[in-house]
Amino acid sequence: MPAQRWRNLLVQTLIAAGLLALLWWLLDATATNMRERGIRSGFDFLLEPAGFGIGESLLPFDSTDSALWALAAGLANTLRVALPAIFISTMLGTLVGLGRLSPNLLLRKLCAAYVEALRNVPLLLQLLAWYFIVTDLLPAASEALQLAPHVFLSKSGLSVPWLGGDDGLLDLPQRGAMNVSGGAAMTPEYLALLLGLSLYTAAYVAETVRAGIAAVPRGQSEAALALGLTRLQNFRLVLLPQALRGIIPPLTNQHLSLTKNASLAVAIGYPELVSVANTTLNQTGRAAECIALIMAVYLILSLLTAWLSAWLERRSGRWADRS
């Protein structure tokens, strides 16, 4: 149908022309606005000194370093909280999800209550509440709670033993008269964010795991048990490989939302990417550039995750075929 093809081409050209006109009109208005308000544009600010400090940073940073390096430190901080949170939420979520399928009524109800309570309250509110609990309700560092030998929890955060130290093996935190010193210290901001993100996402992971296992037909378990497999063998060899196919794609989505949700740290002052970009924005006034940078970084993270997810799916498919 050549007539149809020509019509399609015409319509598409019109759409493209309309979009370009709209874009031009918006850019023109923006340029006029920026001229009138004296706003400069461009990415040159990235190489100038940032001019602000970052509370805690994995990468060495001080205020004379460039804004670009500040953003890199922010991204490193995002990953520093997101990766452990992904691990904790996956473990805890799997346990809670399995708990919801337990034959034990109490355990089932408890896990259901956990999911219901955490999923139905905004994450931001949970983060603020955790931050308040850590910074206001915990004892001061001089009276830090001792959770385990050499693990201290207080208003100033959590201190745990870490590699290194004077003897070159373990650096053990000690409670002094004023503060806790030594070991690896997590700031209250980091702790609240890690807790909040992990517990909230675990509720979603639990639902994913439960749905994935519930989707495996009952007959599979019955057949496995009839063949004389134990409950554990049935779970490991029959249920899990089949359930994983349904679990992995939504699970990677949960991990991705967790990473995006780490941006809520801006509300409690943990210096991750969005928080640093927000400070840069306020200092330099380059709104468009800073927002574009945030979006670009997250888009790249999303693409990487999508790619990783596809790879995992292929692998889990192979695993299921083999067993």
Binding site: Q12, I15, L106, P122, D136, N261, A287, I291
Partner: protein, 357 residues
């Protein structure tokens, strides 16, 4: 299994089916005995319910200070809205809630409901904003608390829905350019955090408009929420469209319906009905996500709690009770929506079973 009295059987099945289950039961009961008395003590027995800061301080966190809610509930619920005018947001919120609940339970015919919405939404704005019928004008920068949360969530969902349908249909268009545009929009928005979209709305939208035209921050943020929610909703709807069996398309074509007619009358209605539960999930997300607008200085429920407590040294140490109070409000809203979704699924299954195929 031996036959015993019903209670015995029930216990055995649910609590003591094997050694692991029995151990779990014992451990959980022990934990409950250990924790519950303290929790009940804190929540109720030692709690202070009067709006008395002195009594709350005296209880020194051994009991909850619900007095903070008694003292501050007007600021928490209505934000910076002028105190003597607060009957207006109360009435507006009540009206909107009635219409939402009535729509959810399908109490009235569709046409009546549509009229009710058409009256309630403008009424909400007139009541909140004033300036008409002798109501004192109240700028939208003073709107806050629960009415703002409800407004952003409701309008966000209502406006995102048609956009999402258009985008979902666009992805099945015969025009590669349109397909590509819709796909890029969805992938772009779903790849970035909501907070960056809100920054965009709050910092960049004012620059995009020609000089002389300005839209207020509430509308800009609402537009941001709509653009964000529509991307997620359109993926849900697209999933529904993909799930419709090819036979439906063929049958519609055989009846002489064109492509778009078939879409409008055959495919879309079935697809939308199939994805109601997922759309309710999106609605729950939007409702929760409205809490983020506090980052761009709109004082909805979460923001107005900080407004109420952060600056007040007498009550500042009782944030936790305040958080629990608004968490309860969010929880009730989300829970009601998921209950509705489950009810709908159940009804849909019953309907499917009764239709002869």
């Amino acid at each position: 299994m031996t036959q015993g009295p019903p209670l015995h059987d029930w216990l055995r099945r649910n609590l003591f089916s094997d050694a692991f289950s029995s151990a779990t039961t014992v451990a959980l009961v022990a934990a409950a005995l250990w924790w519950l008395p303290g929790l009940i003590d804190w929540l109720l027995l030692q709690a202070v319910f009067r709006a008395d800061a002195g009594a709350c301080q005296a209880a020194s966190h051994a009991g909850a200070c619900w007095g903070v809610v008694a003292e501050k509930y007007r600021v928490i619920l209505f934000g910076r809205y002028p105190h003597e005018e607060q009957w207006r947001p109360l009435l507006a919120t009540a009206l909107l809630l009635v219409v939402i609940v009535a729509s959810g339970r399908r109490l009235l015919p569709l046409r009546v409901m549509a009229t009710a919405w058409a009256i309630t939404l403008p009424a909400f704005f007139v009541l909140m904003g004033g300036g008409r019928f002798g109501l004192q004008p109240v700028g939208s920068d003073q709107w806050g608390g629960f009415p703002l949360t409800l407004l952003l969530a409701t309008l966000g969902m209502l406006l995102a829905f048609p956009l999402a349908i258009l985008v979902a249909l666009g992805r099945f268009s015969g025009l590669p350019l349109l397909r590509g545009l819709c796909r890029s929009y969805v992938e772009l928005v779903r790849g970035v955090p909501l907070i960056s979209v809100l920054f965009l709305a709050s910092f960049l939208f004012p620059l995009l408009l020609p000089p002389g035209i300005s839209i207020d921050v509430l509308l800009r943020v609402l537009l941001g929420i709509v653009l964000f929610a529509a991307a997620y909703l359109s993926e849900t709807i697209r999933g529904g469209l993909l799930a419709i069996p090819a036979g439906q398309h063929d049958a519609a074509a055989a009846l002489g319906l064109g492509r778009w007619q078939a879409m409008r009358w055959i495919i879309l209605p079935q697809a939308l009905r199939a994805v109601v539960p997922s759309m309710m999930n999106s609605a729950v997300s939007i409702f929760k996500d409205t809490s983020l607008v506090t980052v761009v200085s709109l004082y909805e429920l979460t923001g107005s709690l900080s407004l109420a407590l952060a600056g007040d040294p007498e009550w500042r140490s009782f944030h936790l009770e305040g958080y629990l109070f608004i968490a309860l409000i969010y929880w009730i809203g989300c829970h009601a929506m998921s209950r509705f979704s489950r009810g709908f699924e159940h009804a849909a299954r019953l309907a499917d079973r009764s239709t002869p195929t």
